[in-house]
């Protein structure tokens, strides 16, 4: 009897652990969202500051795309409000990485504050804010979601990946703020949509 109780307790703990550590088993419903493949006319001007909201490595991809498109840009993953002087556009690549934050020696709370300062400055200077989200479904989704909601509310153009966990949030943000939204099928397709904001 004792053994059975002990085994049942162990099984319960194991199941609880699976739920806690890993698996949000519920699947978020994903209605088919139709979005524009790109903007009909450019909304952003150069020079551009490319920064990160969450310090994930996705920022490097946007930097690379910007270089390929030959858009005049400054790559500053930890840009401060003072770095936004003399620029016309700020691009946020949203995605929280705990390892990236450690690498940049910045905590999550400090990152939130930094992003807020940037957004305030962008608002003051009436800069164009572009938001790109490449990640989704990874372990730090909740922190990424917070950052996305923070940045997305002030965005002029949202670009994200179709069929990622951020798809719903992006749709909500686009609807609430009447913000143009492009959902691409793959990371490789971002380049065209991103370029449409400038040309």
């Amino acid at each position: 009897m004792k053994h059975r109780v002990f085994r049942a307790a162990l099984l319960l703990v194991f199941a609880a652990l699976l739920v806690l550590i890993n698996m949000p088993f519920e699947e978020k419903s994903r209605p088919i969202v139709f979005t524009l493949p790109g903007l009909p006319r450019p909304i952003a001007k150069t020079p551009v500051v490319i920064t990160s909201a969450g310090q994930s490595t996705d920022t490097y991809i946007i930097h690379d795309i910007t270089n390929q498109l030959m858009i005049r840009s400054f790559f500053m993953p930890q840009a401060e409000d003072t770095d936004l002087e003399d620029v016309e556009t700020v691009v946020f690549t949203v995605g929280y990485s705990s390892l990236g934050a450690k690498y940049r020696d910045i905590s999550y709370e400090e990152e939130i504050k930094r992003v807020k300062r940037l957004l305030e400055k962008a608002k003051e200077d009436k800069l164009t804010v572009l938001v790109v989200v490449l990640g989704g479904d990874h372990a730090d989704s909740n922190k990424t979601e917070t950052l996305l909601r923070l940045v997305g509310a002030q965005a002029d153009y949202l670009i994200g990946l179709r069929e990622s966990s951020n798809e719903i949030i992006l749709t909500e943000l686009a609807e609430d703020g009447n913000i143009p939204l492009t959902l691409v099928n793959s990371v490789n397709d971002i380049s065209g949509s991103f370029a449409s904001a400038f040309r």
């Binding site: 053994h3 002990f6 085994r7 162990l10 099984l11 703990v13 194991f14 652990l17 699976l18 806690l20 550590i21 890993n22 698996m23 994930s56 490595t57 996705d58 490097y60 991809i61 930097h63 690379d64 995605g95 929280y96 990485s97 705990s98 390892l99 990236g100 934050a101 450690k102 690498y103 490449l134 990640g135 479904d137 990874h138 372990a139 730090d140 793959s186 990371v187 490789n188």
Partner: protein
Amino acid sequence: MLTGEMKVREIKYPEIFLTGGIFLIALGMLFPVFSQNIWFGVIIKTREAIITGDSGHLILASAFINCLYSLQSIILYMGTMLVVFYSRFNKGLKSFDVFLFSLIIIILLHWTSSLIFEIPWEPVSTILALVISLFLFERLFGETYSFIQVFIVSIQVFFAFHWLNIMPSFSPYRFGRSDILYGVKIAGVYLNADTVLNFTGFAFFLPFIISAFITATLFISYSQNIRMVRENYEKETEIRNMRTEALENRVYQEVKSLVHDLKTPLVTIRGLNSLMLSSNGHEKLSEYGNRIENSVTKMSEMISGYLYESSRQKIKTIELINFIRAQLPLEDERIKFVIDIQDELPDIYVNKIRIARAVINILENAIIVPHKQLYKLINVTIKTVEKGIKIIVRDNGIGIGDLEMERIWEIGYSSNNTSGMGLPFAKRVIEDNMGTIEIASQLDEGTTVTVFLPSVDSLEIDDASNMKA
């Protein structure tokens, strides 16, 4: 058996292993601290891959991540298993409960470490690798009782499963969900290297997992072989002990025979003594006295023969033959003895009692051997040969096969359900007396045993030394 209590009991200082286990757990928990710079190296490699467009950097970054995850998992796994086994915790628990408990503990340790040090971990691949490792642990440890062998297999399992994390095609199954692996995979897709990552991941997973199972099988088979060798050794020891015991029994039998043989002169002594008491004539008394003296001498010889194995005397061959005939039971009518004794046999220099016993053993073998003819015919020939005499015992029994012939001198071996001591004893005694023994046999026709004993002349023994002996 997962518990392996037997092995734990054999270890003299389990507390050393327990301390080692705790140390490993601490090391595994603090692993993110020690490996932080390598983790940062992964970010740098990913950045280089994106900037240069070289997917090779991504594979390198993946290898770094895989090694880091595997090392931490292995250290925590080893530490936990040592603690679970060398603590008194697992006593009385069933193997499945220990399995589940170990699994939960290792998951908790991983989770806690990732929460404290904010270095992500991979739950799916880790749990899968743990389940496989614990399963192999149960099979392997139950067979080999070796932690080292178990850990060698587990290392391969952990490396195999963590390689699945870099495969973009496994992302829907929640592999590679940590932000850094997700970043690597997104970079891979961006560089059109997702196929490369898929292939690399699988190309490492498959050999590692196959190797793990092959290694486990080899370890198990090696352990089984060792166990078989040990069992065979134990069986051989047991057989050796049985033979020794049988030999002791034979000695007992010999002593018993001696006692039996001693009865004959004693009966004579008693009979003659009673006659002496009832007789009045001096002539008769003298005759009986002589016969009593002879019996006493005979009994004394018997005792001396056994007490002093190496002692030998010069005797007439016919004296030996008569002594043997006197001891041999020849009442069975189904056995026909034909004894052919050559005239003028030389004297021999032997321990009469022991040689007689050896020849009796040979004759007893001839008596008991099964035969296909209507009656058992035993021919005994005693003849002079160069430098001695030969005693040839020939029977018409079923004979001895070639395979049996190779083993007839082994102590304890017998083809007639006897003690198997007769021939080895006879050989030893005959050789102790400078003689030889040979056996020739044909199946269904019979067996011939030839005993050679050297003559006194051939040994060049003078009377003086004879007297001394």
